[in-house]
Amino acid sequence: MATNKKSAARAPAPASEQTPAAVPAFTREEELAAYRQMLLIRRFEEKAGQLYGMGLIGGFCHLYIGQEAVVVGMQMALKDGDQIITGYRDHGHMLASGMDASGVMAELTGRRGGYSKGKGGSMHMFSMAKNFFGGHGIVGAQVALGTGLGFANQYRGNDAVAVAYFGDGAANQGQVYESFNMAELWKLPVIYVIENNRYAMGTAVTRASAQADFSRRGVSFNIPGEQVDGMDVRAVRAAGDRATKWCREGNGPIILEMQTYRYRGHSMSDPAKYRSREEVEKVRHEQDPIEQVRARLLEKKWVGEDDLKKIDAEVRDIVNRSADFASSDPEPDPAELYTDVYR
């Protein structure tokens, strides 16, 4: 879509009428890199869930399990200097952007070595070293902020692109459309990634959205959009490549609707009564983003079971070390209550 001529892009065809882009293959190295990153996020989140169950993590903890291909595929399409911003379901985005697992886990447990010294918690972490701009608890707020990141890129004349991630539920916030209009009006280099995981808390997309084809949410602003199989990391990467190119060429913003699924509850306290176990199991069995890569790696005989076990062990080691750090690192000093309020 984004690679089409401008006129075509001005009036995006409904996703149902688009010819699905063929999914380009990954090289062995790309498959392995994607596998490792997605597995890291999955194992990290499983561990966070355990620590929550043990009472080491309090408050909110929104797990990203099931959606790993989205951030990992997008990250593969980005280059140094591109910025990322998201909501509260942010652990995956941080790990994908290269932030340190121990620093993230220690923030979840509210410790000194956490990215925000324990003051931010699960929903509020940032790393300027990795161009990760948070971590925001107010649904939809990051969409306008991401637009501002794009504005700054245009102002500075660099060719960096801002990626603003938000959910299907967040897509019904008013500031999203204020942002769309301004971004297109000013041709800002922003990729709006709508992670459609089919639910916003207990509300299924169809119960909350009059237009559930999120790729069309920019139509009245002339922002092109694409629906992407967000469970296939290759499809995500390819869409990310098209989108970054579109933005870097000065065409303005673009919308990518990632069709994905969250396996766990909205947060740790959600019994998920609004959907059936079968629905979750079906996605897990038929579409799991990690299993897809694993199957391809084995099928092509690019790796053997032993190689995968080795990656598993390495990933587990990183995650275990992050958990050890997060449970042994001291709690923040009481004086921290008053730091970084003003300067």
């Binding site: 309090g58 408050g59 909110f60 509210g110 410790r111 324990g118 003051k119 931010g120 918690g121 699960s122 929903m123 509020h124 925001h136 608890g137 107010i138 649904v139 939809g140 539920g169 967040a170 019904n172 916030q173 008013g174 916003a200 808390m201 207990g202 509300t203 119960r207 909350a208 959205s209 009564k273 609004y274 709690e331 923040p332 009481p334 921290e336 209550l337 008053y338 309020v341």
Partner: protein
């Protein structure tokens, strides 16, 4: 008489009013089928149906705007803003629309609606989901503001809020949802603008609101047992209108005034009451008016930091005893 949780009391209060008055409708995010993110509205959807109990998209401006539009025609909507912090997302309606309507329409239109919201901290939710915003709402002429501290008050004040002809901001405290209390059977209707003396005492007046109420009561018991200081604890309950009668009568009796506030210090509700007391009963005071508050900081997520930030019984008792024993600070 039944023992109810604070969360069940919310549903009971809303149900009582919906049963009585067909003009009452209820809307918010995940409030109907899921029964609310804090499970405070369980059963309403089943009982009153999808026309009167509605799940909305995540669109706070549309929720409050639609509630007001309906109220302008005479319906009596109850709208939920899930976390009080999100009031900032739709503050136009709270600050510019609801409270000015009657005034600007020469009294032709009113805005009889209730905004219920999960206020306050203590749940490790961090800076954007833990704020006590009662003072944000207190400062706007045209709004009424209540914050119950017990299941009984939730039911009675909810009824009073729904029956009131003005916009009422109803602050539920999210760390009190699990609290239990006795609630009599049958219809319960309280009145806005009334404070409640929960513990009579002669030495000092302690004013508290919402989650600070049980903590102030606990502190008062400790002060009596350990220091022989007999405190009168008043649950302010309603910030607008404010029951200055009950509050000032108590201050005149005890000669000492303390406020216990969860909102951040600057412009907290107690500052307003301190100012009123200084104006009206200054010569009856035997010592400085002292405010015990959360400092003027955002709230941290880390549990031990959050516990240090929000006033607790030990801190209240310590502060009151020191001031009562003659030390200023």
């Amino acid at each position: 008489m039944a023992e109810l949780t604070y969360r069940d009391a919310v549903a009971r209060g809303i149900a009582q009013e919906m049963e009585r008055d067909e003009r009452v409708v209820f809307l918010g995010e995940d409030v109907a089928k899921a029964g609310g993110v804090f499970k405070a509205t369980v059963g309403l959807y089943e009982r009153f149906g999808p026309l009167r109990v509605r799940d909305t998209p995540i669109s706070e401006q549309a929720i409050l705007g639609a509630a007001m539009g309906a109220a302008m025609t005479g319906l009596r909507p109850i709208a939920e803003i899930m976390f009080a912090d999100f009031a900032a997302v739709c503050f136009d309606y709270i600050a510019n629309e609801f409270p000015k309507l009657r005034y600007m329409t020469n009294g032709q239109l009113g805005c009889p609606l209730v905004v219920r919201t999960g206020n306050g901290g203590g749940a490790r939710f961090g800076a954007q989901h833990s704020q006590s915003i009662e003072n944000w709402t207190m400062m706007i002429p045209g709004l009424k503001v209540v914050a119950p501290s017990s299941p009984l008050d939730v039911v009675g004040l909810m009824a009073a809020a729904v029956r009131d002809d003005n916009p009422v901001i109803f602050h539920e405290h999210k760390s009190l949802y699990a609290m239990k209390g006795e609630v009599p059977d049958g219809e319960i209707v309280d009145s806005l603008g009334t404070a409640k003396i929960l513990r009579p005492g002669k030495d000092a007046t302690i004013l508290a609101l919402a989650m600070m109420v049980p903590r102030a009561l606990e502190a008062a018991e400790a002060l009596a047992a350990q220091h022989g200081i007999d405190c009168e604890v008043i649950d302010v309950r309603s910030l607008v209108p404010l029951d200055t009668q009950t509050i000032l009568t108590s201050v005149v009796k005890t000669g000492r005034l303390f406020t216990v506030e969860e909102n951040p210090r600057l412009c907290g509700w107690g500052a307003e009451i301190a100012s009123i007391a200084a104006d009206e009963v200054f010569w009856d005071l035997d010592g400085p008016i002292v405010r015990i508050t959360t400092p003027h900081i955002p709230l941290p997520a880390a549990d031990h930091l959050e516990d240090l930030a929000i006033p607790n019984a030990a801190r209240i008792a310590e502060r009151v005893s020191r001031v009562m024993n003659g030390s200023q600070r």
